[in-house]
């Protein structure tokens, strides 16, 4: 009866706090959508066809073959002279004469300053492959293994058949850092979901400070309500809110991302795996909230400690910048953040297509963190509750 009354009260108070709802639901939802959209430009998997400007000072069968091979590599790109090209490809005047030289110097590539490294790599690879096919064709014709009287398309087709091979590709599931292979949605949804869940620390610690500052806890102490019951009455409603955040923000990733023109999040793994992960993150964030509540001495300190610690854990934990973009030293530092453990476990499901067993190490780390925070927080709060004296000021 007492526990249910405490839980119901805390639940009501949390939902009547517009700022808390903003921090727990609106802020992470906005971050999720904005950052997924923003990162889609960096983490794109389908590059737009580059605009090319190709200069051929001396037309030849070899230069025509090269252009056809290049068009095959850069499907969608026009080899016509673009007005503002991403790259200008200049073939040497003696392109045909020096084609089988060894070592060989290929055409010059002049990149526009605005073209990014991904696009440059893409073009460089296409030119290298087209050049290799052209040299292969020249070698085969010299060796009379390819009939130069055949139409260009047929020659190219034969060379492509001989140069291309199928690469059976597999993913070693749920191992290593998966951030590098995640798309914008797969990174942003779990990252900002975890960030939002850990922000439960803020309303939790603020509420407890308010109760210390008012006479509510004094009244409860005089009533001899056990501290464990008081803390359970606080933890349970916030744990429920955490689980609700998990469901709502995941649903946002599933259904709202396509509205932004982004691929919808695909959930791999069993529901049990997601439940295990959600419970682990919930216990970690609520226990962390308990610890921060115990450490703060007033509402101002609670605000600074909870917001500050969350931002630092997010910054080093790969929430704001994916770990794959961090230098090795920072990646090592990230392993200190429970947000990083949560994100790794999430990516193991979403990207690595893992299952409950695969996320078990991450979940265990979160549960250990939760146990340490809960134990320390409970001891500190118990001590503080025991020392709650008669308050004589409002």
């Amino acid at each position: 009866m007492r526990l249910s009354a405490l839980v119901l009260t805390e639940w009501r108070l949390a939902w009547r706090d517009a700022h808390a709802i903003g921090v727990l639901f609106v802020m992470p939802a906005l971050f999720l959508l904005i950052m997924a959209f923003a990162m889609s430009g960096i983490l794109r998997t389908d590059l737009p066809p580059p605009a090319l400007q190709v200069e051929v000072p001396q037309d030849s069968a070899d230069s025509r073959f090269f252009l056809a091979a290049l068009a095959g590599q850069l499907s969608g790109s026009s080899l016509q002279n673009a007005r503002t090209p991403d790259v200008r490809i200049v073939l040497a005047a003696d392109f045909s004469e020096r084609l089988l030289d060894s070592p060989h110097t290929g055409p010059e590539l002049a990149f526009a300053a605005a073209s990014d490294s991904l696009q440059r790599t893409h073009i460089r690879t296409a030119v290298t492959l087209a050049l290799a096919q052209t040299r292969m064709a020249a070698f085969l014709i010299d060796s009379e293994l390819l009939d130069d009287s055949l139409p260009l398309e047929q020659q190219l087709q034969q060379v492509q058949q001989q140069t291309e091979s199928r690469l059976p590709e597999y993913q070693i599931l749920s191992s290593g850092s998966l951030a590098a292979s995640a798309n914008a949605g797969q990174l942003s949804v779990p990252a900002w979901l975890i960030f939002g869940m850990f922000f439960i620390v803020l309303p939790m610690s603020s509420r407890l400070q308010q109760e210390f500052q008012s006479g509510v806890l004094l009244r409860m102490r005089v009533m001899r309500i056990p501290p464990v019951l008081l803390l359970a009455g606080k933890l349970l409603p916030y744990a429920l809110i955490n689980l609700l955040q998990f469901v709502c923000l995941l649903a946002l990733g599933l259904f709202a991302l396509p509205w932004l023109g982004l691929p919808a999040l695909e959930l791999h793994g069993t529901p049990a795996a997601y439940l295990l992960l959600a419970l682990s993150i919930t216990l970690a964030s609520c226990s962390f909230g308990l610890l921060v509540s115990a450490l703060a001495r007033n509402s101002e300190q609670a605000l600074l400690l909870s917001a500050g610690s969350n931002l630092i854990l997010a910054a080093i934990g790969g929430i704001m910048v994916p770990k794959s973009m961090m230098p090795p030293a920072m990646q090592q530092l990230a392993s200190l953040s429970p947000m990083s453990w949560s994100l790794d476990a999430f990516l193991t499901l979403l990207v690595g297509q893992g299952n409950s067993t695969d996320i078990l190490p991450g979940c265990l780390a979160l549960l250990l963190f939760a146990a340490a925070c809960a134990l320390t927080g409970t001891l500190l709060l118990h001590h503080r509750l025991k020392n709650t004296l008669w308050t004589t000021h409002n």
Binding site: M1, A5, T9, R12, D17, G215, V222, L389, T391
Partner: protein, 291 residues
Amino acid sequence: MLDLQQLGYRYPGSPAPALQDISLHIQPGECIGLLGSNGAGKTTLLSLIAGLIQPQQGSLRWQGHNAIGLVPQSLAFHARLRVSENLQLFADLYRLRGSERQHQLEQAIDAAQLESLLKRTAAQLSGGQQRRLNFALGLLQPAQLYLLDEATVGVDSANRQRMLQAVRSLADNGKAVIYTSHYLPEIEQLADRVLLLSEGRLLLDQRLQEQPAQQFSARWADTIPQALVQLCHDRHWSCSQQGNQLKLELSDPQQLQELLQLLASQPAPVQLDYGPASLEQLYLHSSGGQL
């Protein structure tokens, strides 16, 4: 019901004890006014009785249940909950059920005049209304002893009277009440026993009905008759002179008779007052003038 024997307490790091050598016996049905200047030890005494701290010296023994109804000076409720929700929450925490729950709720709501405010959130109430809610939550608990700390601060006169009546009726129904206030007429109206603390010591423990001192005051047009001053001096009566006014505290009807005999042969005073000393006079007298 509650027996305090030579109770003492010193806060860690404090050079002087907050309370020393306090002995009291609190009986059911007593309404006790607890007085004392700031730092006198009232809060420490209340904290000891409420079980918030344990005595370092002496003993504190309860006979029967030690449930305490508390009305602290700070507002002890949830501001974002409605008045009714706050009442229901504490009724649950007090483990009130069935008809007892209904009775306690009705009694508390009536005593604090909260009927029309039940649907409003506590934060929307005025300062005085919030005090009334704080009061109602303390009264809600069925207890043997009620501790009320400055319970009526900021409450308007009509509602204050209603609250004081409710406190009085607690005592009339056999509950013990300890009531602290700096508003002495309130204590005078309510309490049947007064405790005065000063520098951690119990300076005065007196039933107001047994209050022995009577105040005699006379003012003359010119000067106070010398014979009267001489009489006070000879008899070692406690008296004070302010200009042409003489004030005496009389603890014996014999003193009054002797005084009146002498007055008959002296110039008649222009003003004469006689009656029981007020609590304020008693307080000032006992505490050496510190209020």
